[in-house]
Structure formats: structure tokens, C-alpha cells
Amino acid sequence: MICREFIAMIDEYLAVSSTADDRAECEAHLATCPYCRDYLKTYRDTIGLLKDAIAKTPDADVNPEVAEALAKAVMKARNPDS
């Protein structure tokens, strides 16, 4: 397995959804390729940060003017003729 092939399979490898043979090939490649070991670490870190840092961010602040405009839009949609 070469680096390009490993990186193309990296999502399946991380999701443990690759076949046993593919997984074995990935692990054999990782055993000999420090660049791909680094890449795997940083790729996995990136996904983890997206899920842990961004996904768990508190919800946005909505300033009062924006909230008022949204409420008016809801009222208008409810009463389009008014």
C-alpha cells in the first residue's frame, strides 16, 4: 500500500468499516510510514475537534433587533393579509 491509497481509505479505516484485509494493509503501511502516522493523527484530531469544539459550542447569541424582526416575520407569515 502506498500513501495515496492509505489516505484515500482513511475514513473507512477510522470508522472501522474497511474489510479485514484492507485494515491489515493500512496497518502494515502505518507501521512503516511515519508520514502517514502523522497524517492519521492530525486527520483524526481534526475530526475530533470539529465534533468536540465546534459542535458543542453554545448556541449563537441573537440580538434583540434580530429576534424582533424574526418574530414579526412569523406574525406576518401567520397573517399574510394583515
Partner: protein, 193 residues
């Protein structure tokens, strides 16, 4: 049937509507911001979403949570705005993907950043950095990244939203993750320098 919004609309009380908006708008705006990477467009998408929700309230059958239903609507509203707006000048995602020699080995790979993921999570500025970098990903790729890795939709749900195949979603997700990794690497190496 109908809860929340339906009752609010039935009553028609402006204060009730305002409370309803105050409860749901923050979450919807968060989603729209990440998809659109533009504050004005995000607010417009949320307004579109509330309007659409009012008009289609009869189709809400209560089988899912109201918040889930609204989430689906705002994702659709944001995607419609993305399709309608003129393409912004964007960095090509190709320039953010790893390069390979003809023999398949990587071209000039850099060292991994020094900090561990948990160390990065502890830094207050990490979240702001990630949000900034996310906005640099080209629109179509960012969309898949947001829906899959941040909003937690699975491949099938994402494909339905985007009216595309699951295979296309997987390909785009891989490219978007790789691009985000490259951007984060550049930022981390600059910070470590």
C-alpha cells in the same frame, strides 16, 4: 396535533411568538452561520426557516421533536440560499488536499502539530480558530463537513438534504476533512513557530 409553534400560532399572541423565537432562533442561527459563512445570509435563512415553518405547520405530525423539524427546515433554507447566491471567490479545495508524487508517496509532508487534541480543546482560542477556518472551506465542501461532522447527520440524511448520492457525500466529506486538516496544520505550525 402540534405543539409549540402550532399552539403559539393558534393563540396569535405576539409575546408568545417572541418567546418561541427566542427559544429556537439561537440554535437555528448557529446552524445557518456555519453553512453560509455570512451573517446576513444566515439571518435571512433563519427568517426563511421560520416563515416556512409557519406555512407548513400542518405537515408537522409530531413524530419528531419540534426542534428537529425546525433544524431540518433551516438546513434546507440555508442550502437554498447557498445555491441562489453568486459564487464568492474561493480557494480551490485542490490546493488544500495532500499532494503525491507519481509513485503515490506524499510530497513534502510536514510534521504533525505538537499539541494533542485535548490540549487544543482546552485553549479558548481553538474554537474561534476552527470557526474561522471552517469559513475558508469552499461552500459545497463546507456544507458536507457541517452536516456530517458538526450537525451529526449521517451519510443518508446528508445525501437527502443535498439531493445527491451517498457516494458523493463520502467523497466530498473526505476532501473537506483533508482541507480542514491542512488549514489547521498551517495555523498550528504558524503558532508553534
Amino acid at each position: 396535533m402540534g405543539t409549540g409553534l402550532a399552539n403559539v400560532l393558534a393563540i396569535g399572541d405576539e409575546q408568545a411568538v417572541s418567546r418561541f423565537v427566542a427559544e429556537h432562533a439561537p440554535r437555528l442561527l448557529q446552524v445557518a452561520r456555519r453553512l453560509l459563512a455570512c451573517e446576513e445570509d444566515a439571518r435571512d435563512a433563519v427568517q426563511d426557516a421560520f416563515t416556512a415553518a409557519v406555512r407548513s405547520i400542518d405537515s408537522f405530525d409530531g413524530q419528531s421533536q419540534l426542534s428537529t423539524w425546525l433544524h431540518r427546515i433551516v438546513v434546507n433554507a440555508a442550502l437554498m440560499r447557498l445555491r441562489a447566491r453568486q459564487r464568492r471567490p474561493e480557494v480551490s479545495i485542490e490546493s488544500l488536499l495532500p499532494e503525491f508524487y507519481d509513485d503515490g508517496h506524499r510530497v513534502e509532508p510536514r510534521r504533525a502539530w505538537a499539541a494533542t487534541a485535548s490540549e487544543l480543546l482546552e485553549r479558548r482560542e481553538t474554537r474561534q480558530l476552527l470557526e474561522r477556518l471552517l469559513a475558508e472551506i469552499p461552500d459545497e465542501d463546507r456544507t458536507v463537513l457541517v452536516l456530517r461532522d458538526i450537525e451529526g447527520l449521517d451519510t443518508r440524511q446528508t445525501a437527502e438534504h443535498l439531493a445527491t448520492s451517498e457516494g458523493a457525500v463520502k467523497t466530498r466529506l473526505h476532501r473537506a476533512r483533508a482541507a480542514m486538516r491542512t488549514l489547521l496544520e498551517q495555523a498550528m505550525l504558524e503558532a508553534d513557530a
